[in-house]
């Protein structure tokens, strides 16, 4: 079951593998795009104000993220560059991967007869899909920035690697829905979860970009948008995720009130969703109230994302190892081998990393004493 059915001659396994290859290729082309951008400093001759206005109105050459260097020598003309073509190719590949994932998920939906979000594999797949969606809509579509693609796609690639390689084959099969999950809330609640966590994943991709920009002293860093711009893109992704995370808690409570008799019962899964919410609330307070804009925000978004991963997938392992009870365990009830497999080790690792990064990040949060600190 699961991987044999064919639609248009393509089965789910083929489609997901195709998407996987597309992501890898897209990562390569996004990187090439950055390298190509960095191989020349984009120099625009000093222009008149009106011309500059027109440029700004058009959104700028690479989506308004290119630093227009007005101090450069008069008259130097931009050299021919492959950057735009490479960028378009990369986006094309991401769109292709998105299409493959969409069809694969659709096939699984039809075949299993329910919204395929109940096993760890399905959830991880959905996260890949959602992150791609949010990336395309928010970064490529609304914010018109392409330079963050490499890191976001790298993150997506890692997520899909987890789904494809680290989840044992027998757990990739479809399962039947237990009565408690047979509700339209499954679609509403889990879709919100996927979008919220995907938005946080995109923010983490921006966080990675920020870290790269901040610590790399190479030419490549010059192709990336300014730190302030990256930070703002990161915030925009969190601003998508946070209200969704709030809605996630509401819909979860409503559903729990119906199906589990109690709106809130401190089930590990819902508790971790609350922890995620509080973490990003802390992120927002650090930003909005303290006006912090620097590398701290990147660390916070990475900490946040590790917590997201734990909420989304790690809670299952919690159930296995700590003997915690949860009503939210995807595939554990379906014969998952207990004990430490590679995916498990990965989770332990990320948990340790979480604590380390949390400590590191907390130490790095500089609380400016002066009330007038800016940027």
């Amino acid at each position: 079951m699961g991987f044999e059915e064919y639609v248009f001659g393509l089965n789910e396994a083929t489609l997901t593998s195709a998407a996987y290859v597309c992501y890898l290729a897209a990562f390569v082309f996004y990187s090439a795009y950055l390298i190509s951008l960095s191989s020349r400093a984009l120099r625009v001759p000093q222009r008149e104000f009106a011309t500059l206005m027109a440029l700004a109105g058009a959104g700028g050459a690479a989506g308004g993220t290119v630093d227009v260097n007005m101090d450069s020598q008069e008259g130097e003309r931009p050299r021919v560059t492959y950057a735009p073509a490479l960028g378009r190719l990369a986006v094309g590949l991401v769109v292709l991967a998105w299409l493959c994932m969409t069809i694969a998920i659709g096939q699984r939906w039809v075949e299993s007869g329910h919204y395929p979000v109940v096993t760890l594999y399905e959830i991880a797949t959905m996260l890949v899909w959602g992150t791609t969606t949010i990336y395309l809509v928010l970064f490529e579509g609304i914010l018109k920035t392409r330079a963050l693609g490499a890191f976001v796609i790298l993150l997506i690639f890692c997520l899909q690697s987890y789904a494809l390689w680290f989840i044992p084959g027998e757990l990739k099969q479809t399962v039947q829905l237990v009565p408690a999950l047979r509700s339209y809330w499954l679609i509403i609640h889990v879709s919100i979860a996927i979008l919220a966590y995907s938005a946080f994943a995109v923010a983490a991709g921006a966080g990675l970009t920020f870290v790269a920009k901040h610590y790399m002293r190479s030419r490549l860093a010059s192709a990336l948008p300014s730190e302030a711009a990256i930070e703002e893109f990161m915030f925009r992704a969190v601003a998508v995720g946070f209200p969704l995370q709030t809605l996630l808690l509401i819909t979860g409570a409503i559903w729990a009130q119906e199906a589990w008799t109690k709106a809130w019962s401190w089930d590990p899964k819902e508790t971790w969703a609350l922890i995620t919410w509080l973490t990003y609330a802390a992120y927002l307070h650090v930003r909005v109230q303290r006006g912090v804009r620097g590398i701290t925000m990147a660390w916070l978004s990475l900490i946040g994302f590790i917590i997201v991963l734990f909420t989304f997938m790690g809670v299952n392992y919690l159930v296995q190892w700590f003997g915690m009870k949860s009503m939210h365990t995807y595939s554990i009830d379906n014969g998952a081998p207990a004990g430490l497999n590679i995916a498990g080790l990965l989770m332990v690792f990320s948990f340790v990393a979480l604590l380390a990064v949390a400590l590191f990040g907390w130490l790095r949060i500089k609380f400016p004493r002066s009330k007038t600190r800016q940027t």
């Binding site: 039947q176 047979r182 709030t246 008799t261 922890i275 007038t372």
Partner: protein, 531 residues
């Protein structure tokens, strides 16, 4: 802090900001502490401090996290001594001597522990204190903004557009700039400058977005307070057994009974995995049946604010026995503390499988006196063993005589279609009839709608705060010092957040101002400079 601008010209620009009602993102100047030693003031400023708020937020998250790493006691377990002891034994096996300390510190019931609740209370007070502290400064900032700002303040802002020697009178130029601002949705205020020669313009947009934060945080506080308060008004019965046909009154001053009128179960095509189970309930009030509803896991019955949730189901058997003459023989069911007699008029006894067998199946015990001996029947119910309707239920029976529990005289499933007879006691025949009892959770949770509304307001508030930006612009129009009869104009802007997006937004505004100035003047303003 040094305020001497002539000594520290660079600091001037930064110091200038609080003068116009607070810097964009930073907390406004807190209420000045009168005395460092006054403890109430100290607590107040701690509660108002942003670092403290963020710290509490993180503390809450970490505490919640701990509760998912340490096993938690079942709610209400404290009233069952044996269960509690079993839990504590497990815990000791897990944590050793540390276990008692954890128990004492409330870690096994973390979310109900005093310290966790105190944490929540402190967060609530933090929000309230912070709000009260910020109310006045924010109202002042958005209510009576400073229109007249210093040149150095304007120079200190990052978003600026300057137009020099625009061939217009200052009033016309002011109108042009104001119209551009209005086109960009700004509210515009103007004032003459101190020296009377120029005009100051102030404009802001979405100032109400500052107030939305108060609404959302107030909703958050109300949500916590209401939820905590309401918890004392509801009640909950965790597992109430509803036997077929028997009305149950759940107490708690409810004046109606609910009867299990039938149970059905549906399997997936594999015939093993449960797809759905349904329980038809009838509500009986004043002797009349007033409502029937078939409930499923995702659709409880609500009657007069009391919810009946389908939690699980359990096989039950009606067992009866007859002797050689066909007369009913009294059966005794085993209770947890020994045999109990619960024979119905027909000689039937209801077996509700109080125990679980070693292979985790529902199990129960039954005793009967036969030929001066006590016979014990140990019955295990195997749900997965297929038996068709009309046949005996899939019941595995071990029969013992007296206390010889190591030598069963019968050790098999009951026959498919004939009554059960034990070897040596063939005069007695046992019949079993299968039925299903449902296990319901019955609860009254008043005021959930109210909590939900607060939650909704909060969510809406957060969304609005995140997607609106309080934006301010200042402009100064003054007669040009170089070309007589023309005006110099500087426009500068400041956004609460999203500074990079505001850059583009400001450029649009500058373009509009430029167009308005061009339209209003005879010739192009020259030269033009944007930084």
């Amino acid at each position: 802090m040094a305020h001497d601008a002539s000594i520290l010209p660079k600091t001037q620009a930064r110091l200038a900001k609080p003068q116009i009602g607070g810097a964009p993102n930073q907390g406004l100047p807190a209420v000045v502490r009168r005395s460092r030693r006054d403890p109430t003031d100290a607590i107040w400023s701690l509660l108002c401090s942003i670092r403290f708020a963020i710290g509490m937020n993180v503390a809450l998250a970490v505490a919640a996290m701990l509760g998912t790493l340490v096993p938690q006691m079942q709610p209400g377990i404290q009233s069952f001594e044996t269960e509690l002891q079993r839990f504590l034994m497990d815990a000791r096996g897990r944590y050793g001597p540390l276990s008692d300390l954890l128990y004492w510190a409330g870690f096994y019931d973390l979310y109900n522990s005093l310290w966790f609740r105190m944490l929540v209370v402190v967060v609530v007070f933090g929000i309230i204190a912070c709000t009260l502290n910020r109310w006045q400064p924010i109202m002042r900032q958005i209510g009576s903004p400073t229109v007249r700002v210093s040149d150095s303040f304007l120079a200190g802002l990052t978003e600026k557009a300057q137009f020099r020697a625009v061939p217009m009178e200052i009033d016309a130029a002011r109108n042009a700039v104001a119209s551009a601002l209005k086109r960009s949705r700004y509210r515009v205020l103007t004032e003459g400058s101190m020296d009377g020669r120029g005009i100051h313009i102030y404009a802001d947009r979405d100032r109400w977005s500052k107030l939305v934060t108060f609404v959302s945080h107030a909703a958050l506080v109300s949500l916590i307070v209401t939820a905590a308060g309401l918890a004392n008004f509801g009640w909950r019965e965790q597992s109430v057994f509803f036997y077929p046909g028997k009305p149950v009154n759940v107490g708690h001053d409810t004046n109606f009974e609910v009867r299990n009128d039938g149970f059905a179960i549906e399997y997936y095509d594999d015939g093993v995995t449960v797809k759905e189970y349904r329980n038809t309930l009838a509500v009986i009030e004043g002797g009349r049946e007033v409502l029937t509803k078939t409930i499923i896991v995702n659709d409880p019955l609500n009657y007069k604010g009391t919810n009946f949730f389908l939690v699980s189901y359990q096989p039950v058997l009606y067992a009866s026995a007859t002797d050689a003459s066909g007369l009913p023989v009294p059966l005794r069911e085993m209770g947890a503390s020994g045999p109990i007699t619960s024979t119905t008029e027909l000689g039937e006894v209801l077996i509700d499988f109080k125990f679980t067998s070693t292979d985790n199946q529902p199990m129960d015990l039954l005793q009967v006196s036969a030929q001066d001996k006590i016979l014990t029947l140990e019955m295990t119910y195997y749900q997965d063993v297929a038996r068709v309707d009309g046949e005996n239920p899939p019941l595995y029976v071990r029969g013992y005589v007296g206390k010889e529990f190591d030598k069963p005289i019968f050790d098999a499933f009951v026959p498919r279609s004939s009554p059960l007879r034990l070897p040596g006691y063939e005069d007695y025949s046992f019949t079993f009839e299968k039925d299903t009892a449902t296990v319901l959770e019955v609860a009254k949770d008043p005021g959930l709608g109210l909590v939900g509304s607060f939650f909704g307001i909060m969510a809406l508030g957060f969304t609005v705060s995140l997607y609106t930006t309080y934006t301010r612009c200042w402009a100064k129009v003054s007669p040009s010092t170089t070309v007589p009869g023309t005006s110099d104009i500087i426009i500068a802007g400041l956004a609460d957040k999203n500074k990079v997006s505001f850059e583009r937004d400001f450029e649009k505004l500058a373009t509009r101002a430029y167009e308005a100035l061009v339209a209003g003047s005879k010739a192009l303003p020259t030269p033009v400079d944007k930084s």
